[in-house]
Each structure stands twice: as structure tokens, then as C-alpha cells.
Amino acid sequence: MDYSIKIGGEAGQGIQTIGDTLAKVFSRFGYHVFTHQDYESRVRGGHNFYQIRIADHLVMTSREKIDIIVALDLDSITLHEKEVSPRGIILYDSSLIGQVPMSGEQAVARLDMPLLELATKHGNKIMVNTVATGAVLGIFRLDLQILAQILETTFQKKGREVVESNIQAALSGYNHVIAHCKTCVFPLEPETSAAKQTMMLMSGIDAIGLGALSSGCKFYAAYPMTPSTGIMNYLAGKEKEFGIVVEQAEDEIAAINMALGASFAGVRSMTGTAGGGFALMVEGLSLAGMTETPLVIALGQRAAPATGLPTRTEQGDLLFAIHSAHGEFPRIVFAPGTPEQAFSLTNKAFDLAEKYQVPVFLIFDQYIADTLWTYKTFDVNPVVWNDYRLRGEEFARLNTYKRHAFTETGVSPLGVPGEARHVVVTDSDEHDEEGHIIEDAETRNKMVQKRLMRKLPLIRCEIKEPLYYGGSNPRIVIAGWGSTYGVMKEAVDFLSKKESIGLLHFSELYPFPSPSPLTQNYFSTLKNAQFTICIENNATGQFARLMRAETGFEFHEKIHKYDGRPFLLEELAGEINARIGRL
């Protein structure tokens, strides 16, 4: 069982509400769900869609073929009709979107149903969304009880009457489908419902927020920018319960400097932005490096330079993150491929930022930020939490204190100002052990050795090998990083029926896991493969370049996509197949 639903419409029509609601219903019934969103940078109008995949097995990418289209605008039909599977159907209301032209070569089943009329009958035309949601559930013959619970929580505040009319509206959509479309039946695996455990629905962006929360993040400063804004929203919602301060800064320069101020003052801090905002933060990144102030930066990639395609996806800022900022200093770069990884890498980011007093990046993108994944359980317990700061008694007990003292590890004691009689001094100028400005070559050299050379090998040891998925000694290895994990993994599942193929997925990217006793496994897998393909959601193959620079290894082939959209399963599997075919 593996169905895909696409809800299309204009911005402001509420397709996200329908999508989110359906995702919730199916996940509460115990089905695996995966969703992704495609939207324009506008508040009203245009054409957006929300795609949901429902299955009885783990799914982590969207597919090309659609089984049900819910069309709230004409574009949803004209643009997407060709994607409809042979068993598929399009639901629409001609009184809303007008007459629909005849379909192309192949006739696609359509159901013109009175969404608007049913909504109006139950009280209000804005309930069109609820009617449509009920209609989709009707196709699956899925009990409305869970939808009723969701409507209850959503509309509780608006009163009993609103809840009731919404439930009735959903029921009318449900019944209409059953009465008027005999062929609209998509069977669900019977044993799945009820018996199965309710699933949790988690997006990439929420997982980063949750990760920050679980790591004791106390301060978040940012300037709104898609696709990072969700982190600010999530943490702001937890301010009271967890004692967090979220500050909307006047610009990204202020945001990173505020986060550094709070970190200097003794709390775990984070900032988040997209590529353009990060460009403004770059001097602050260098300041974090120089003053050895712990900082976590969530960098959400969107497509293209400048403002680009503001709401779309790309993996275009990897080398920017790695090479940004003037001067030389250590940094760490992670790029999660799943919400689970987003959670655990956020935790690791906070830990390492403080342990080594360096800036740590979490690179993500619009795609992973917005996708929803289902989990039976989500393990928040094995969270690393060490307080590396010097506070209270422990700090007061010291006879002398030097913020940037030379030590064997290069890591100097991180005192919290005000907690002892010692003063904490740091400087963006090159400084001595105490933190005061210097010019002499000897201190400069010693500081570079402390701040950079001694820390680097230790940081390297913290970096995990890439994840390998597939059989042993694969003939073909595909590789990628960050958000493409799901689609690459499913492509391997798809192709491994005929091929000996494996996947290397990199989420801990910098310092690069270069061949070493710790990481030699992955490297031999790569070297022993007959054919290797690097897959990236960008035009220039930034990861492949990094791999070559760090290891000398060159991939045989590359697959790139840079239209601002994510890879879909069949599309990627087809591309890989084509490359193999040319062997």
C-alpha cells in the first residue's frame, strides 16, 4: 500500500490546513506518512501544492505519481493532471474553479463535487477545506472519528457550534464521495488501522527546535527569513515553560552579535537564518571564532543567489558555510538528512560548540524544513548535556583566571562573568591569554596554535563516519549529503532489486571525515565500488568538490538538480538507472 495525494490551490486557500490535517489523521491511524510542500513567495494567489504519501511501510520521499488530486484551483488540474496514476482521481468543484478543459491523451477520472455548496449549507463557505478533507477520507473509507477530534481541538476556541458545523461539513464531503463516486475506492491495508500504534508527525524544522530545547538552549536571536523562521516560532512557543528568551533582532548582524553576547554572559545561544541573512552574519561568525564564544548557527538554504527563489530548496551553501568569514579558525558543519538526525545533530552542535568553544553550523534547506515524517517513538532521552562553563564556586576557587589561557588541548576555561571576582576579557583583536590586545608575533603564533591547531585534531575525532546503507561490497555507490537522504535511500531500495547498490550519506561534513583509522570503512566502500555517483541538489557539485579537495577521490558521475525543487523517487531512480545503463 502506497498512495500519494496532492492538494493544490492558491496561497491563502488553506491547502496547508487540508494537508496537515490529513497527515495527522493518517498518522494517528498508524500509517506512515511523508509530506512535502511546494509554495510561492506570496501570501495570496499563485499556485502552491502540498503532497502527502501514505503507506504501510516507512516512507521518506515524495513520488511522481499521484493517486488523488484535490484541486482548489484550475492550475492543480492543468499542471498536474499528467501526474495522476491510472487508478487516480481528481476532486474539484467547478463552481469554484470554473469549467475544466478536456484532459489530454489519457482520460483521468474526475469528480466534480459541490464543495462550496456543501460548505455553505453547513454554515460557511470557508469550510470548503473541511468538506474536501472529509471527501478524501471518504475515498479511503476511513472513520471520521479522528478527524472529529482534530476539528475539535482546532476550533475549540471558536465554540461548540463551529466545531459541530465543521464535523457535519466533513461528513457531507465523506458521504458525497460514497454516494456519487462508485469507483472512488482506495483500499487501506485492513490490519493497519486501529491495531497499529499512533505515529508522531515531525518536521525537520521542528526537530531542530526540539533539539535546541533539549540541549538547554536559553537564547535565540534571529531576523525572520524562510526557511529558518520555524525555529524561532517553535522556541518562542516554549519560552515560558523552558525559560528561553527569543529576541527578534533588527537585522542578522544584530542577531548573531546578540547571540554572542548572551553566550559570553553564560547561556547556550543560537541564531538561525537563510543564506542571504547568513551573508550579513559572516563578520560575526569570525568574531565567534576569534573570541572562542560558543555558538550554534542554523543555516537554511534556499534556491539561487541573492533573494533567489525564496520559498524553494537547494543545497547551494555548503562551501559558503565552510569557507565563510575572514581569518582562520575552527568550525564544525553538520547537515541532517532526517528529522531524527536534525534532532541529534542539533544536540551534538550545542555540545561541541561549548566543548571546543567554536561556532557550529546546522545546514538544512526548505525541503527538509517543511517535510513531515512519521515516527513511532522519538528518542529525546540520550541527549548529551554537559555544562562546560566555569561557574560559581568552581570559578571562585581559582587563584588566577585567564580567559584565553594556553592549554594542552587549546581549550581555555570558559568563565561566566560576574560569578567570581575574576574578570572575563575577550577581544576581536588578536589578544593575549588574558584577552588584551597584542601585536607581537610570538603571542600571535601561540594563539593560532591554541585556538586552531590544537583544537582541530580533537574536533576531527568527534566527527562520525558517513552512514552506509545497502549490502556489502556494492558494485555501485551513490553518495550525497543533508536533505537528500530519504530519496537516495528509497532509490537504493528501488534499484537494489536488480543492482548491487549502496548509499553513503554524509551528515557530519566538516571537519571532513577524511580517510583515517576512524573513517576508513566508508572510504574503502567508495574506492572498491565499480561506479560512484554523487547526487546533489545544486548545479556545481559542491560536495563532490569538497570530497576531491579533502581526499583526492573523484566520483565517476554526478546527478544535479537546481530548479528549486527536491528530487522525487522515480525521477532520481531513473537518473541513476540511466547512468548505470551507460556503463
Partner: protein, 283 residues
């Protein structure tokens, strides 16, 4: 009680005769007289001659980037509002590079004391005009003189309802100390603009130039009237007022954020046990 010796810092790298020495002296005496210990306050400074200030005394110091004192100071206060926080910057640093932050720090009303060493010139970079340079001032990179109108930081601050607005003069140390004390004791964002002769690069606004023009605001003046204050703030030229020009009792940001009203963030322990419950949001 601290004594002056407790504040001994690095040997200053300022030019002989620089107005910054008097500001440093006034500052040290102020904190000694108020009984504030070095570990009890933090100075955030930017980049410029003025911004080397915290190294020349002893205190918690975050000497950050050019123009970025106020965001760092804001972050420190939000994390620990029991810490007394100063931002020390030059006129170029604060009114030029960091102008946007100044506007928003005033709006937020974060309880930070901003002391601007206003020498009407870029000192460290060797004599370019600053936003407060006089119109027409000729410099190496402005052979036809400065075309832009001089920024009036006092008028700007009153217009933005800044909580405490004052002007001091490096040539009037005792008076300056009084202003520093008032700024520290005032609850709210304080801007103290300090006229500071630059003996090397600013040959117009010299000690003599300032002495001829400055006057202390008369004791009967009430800084609580904003319209009056605006009139006073606009005074510049033949007569330049020194003293507290404006103040108000706006609530500070730190007191408005419910989460830190009772206890500074830095003292709040992280409670990991509640995390499990938040998973409910996702089902």
C-alpha cells in the same frame, strides 16, 4: 570598597593629550565612588581608539566588532540582567557603522549605558569624517569638504524617546562624572555623548573650540519635558549644552520579558525532564 588601584589596566595607546584620558579618569573615579567592583560590570566596546577603553581599566570585557556594541550588550543583559553593562564606542562606531542598532536599542529600552566618545572624526583610521563631523570639514578623502549634514545624536535620541539623553565634555571631568553616575543610576537605555577633542586629526573641534561654546544646563531646567528637551537638543553651534537633556521612566525590556522577570536567564537551571512531555505536540 574598591580603590582606584583595583582598576589598573594596560598602558593606554592613545596620543598624548587625547580627550580619552579624561574620560577614562572620570569613569574610574565614578565606579570607585559608586563602589562597583571590576567583576560586577561588563564593558562591550567596538573598534576605534575609543573602543580600546576597557583594556585600560579592569573589568569584564567584550571588545567586539566595529559598530556592533549594542547587540552584544543587549544579548548580555538578556542573559544576565544583574550584570551592569556599558557600551563604549566612538562616534563612527556608534552613529555610523552601528546606526541601526542604536535606533533599536533605544526602542527596546534595554538597560545599557552607552558612552560615545564623540571626537567628530574617525581617529583610528587616521582622520576621515564621521557622522558628527561639521559640514564642510576638509579631510584627505573629502577634498571638497563634507557635504552631508552633521548628525545631531541628542535630537535623534529625544525623537526616539530614548530613556536617558545627556552630553558631557572631556574637558569637564567632575561634571562628566556626575553625568556618568546619573546614567548608571538611571533605569533604562542611556546615551551619554561625550565631546572628546582629537588632538591629532580634528584640528577644528579643539579644546579651545569646545570651551568657547559649551555651557552647563541651568539647574532649573527640567529634562522630563520632551518638547522642551527637543528644543534644547537642537542647540549646537555657538552654544552647546552640557548635562542631562532628556529622561523618561519607560519600563525596561528586561522587566517586560516574563521569563526573566524573577531570575536572570543565566541562573535558571535547565530542566531536561520536561522534554519528554513536549513530544505531545507532535502526535
Amino acid at each position: 570598597m574598591p580603590v582606584l588601584e583595583d582598576y589598573k589596566g594596560q598602558p593606554p595607546a592613545w596620543c598624548p593629550g587625547c580627550g580619552n584620558y579624561s574620560i577614562l579618569k572620570a569613569f574610574k573615579e565614578t565606579v570607585v565612588e559608586l563602589g562597583i567592583e571590576p567583576y560586577q560590570f561588563t564593558i562591550v566596546s567596538g573598534i576605534g581608539q575609543a573602543s580600546k577603553f576597557p583594556h585600560y581599566l579592569k573589568c569584564n570585557t567584550f571588545n567586539g566588532l566595529h559598530g556592533r556594541t549594542l547587540p552584544v550588550a543587549t544579548g548580555i543583559r538578556l542573559a544576565n540582567h544583574e550584570m551592569l553593562v556599558f557600551a563604549v564606542a566612538g562616534d563612527g562606531d556608534c552613529y555610523g557603522e552601528g546606526g541601526n542598532h542604536l535606533m533599536h536599542a533605544m526602542r527596546r529600552n534595554i538597560n545599557v549605558n552607552l558612552f560615545v566618545h564623540d571626537n567628530q572624526i574617525y581617529g583610528l583610521t587616521k582622520g576621515q569624517p564621521s557622522p558628527t563631523s561639521l559640514e564642510g570639514m576638509v579631510t584627505k578623502n573629502h577634498p571638497f569638504g563634507v557635504f552631508s549634514e552633521q548628525l545631531n545624536p541628542m535630537a535623534l535620541a529625544v525623537a526616539l524617546d530614548c530613556s536617558f539623553v545627556a552630553r558631557g565634555f572631556a574637558g569637564e571631568i567632575e561634571h562628566l562624572k556626575e553625568l556618568m553616575k546619573s546614567a548608571i543610576l538611571h533605569k533604562g537605555f542611556s546615551l551619554l555623548d561625550i565631546l572628546q577633542p582629537c588632538v591629532t586629526f580634528n584640528k577644528i573641534n579643539t579644546y579651545e573650540w569646545y570651551k568657547k561654546r559649551v555651557y552647563k544646563i541651568e539647574p532649573e531646567y527640567s529634562p522630563d519635558d520632551r518638547i522642551n528637551a527637543f528644543t534644547r537638543a537642537l542647540e549646537w553651534g555657538d552654544r552647546i549644552p552640557l548635562g542631562v537633556i532628556y529622561r523618561n521612566k519607560r519600563q525596561i525590556l528586561e522587566e517586560r520579558i516574563p521569563v526573566i522577570r524573577d531570575m536572570p536567564l543565566v541562573k535558571q537551571k535547565f530542566d531536561a525532564s520536561k522534554i519528554e512531555d513536549t513530544l505531545r505536540d507532535f502526535s
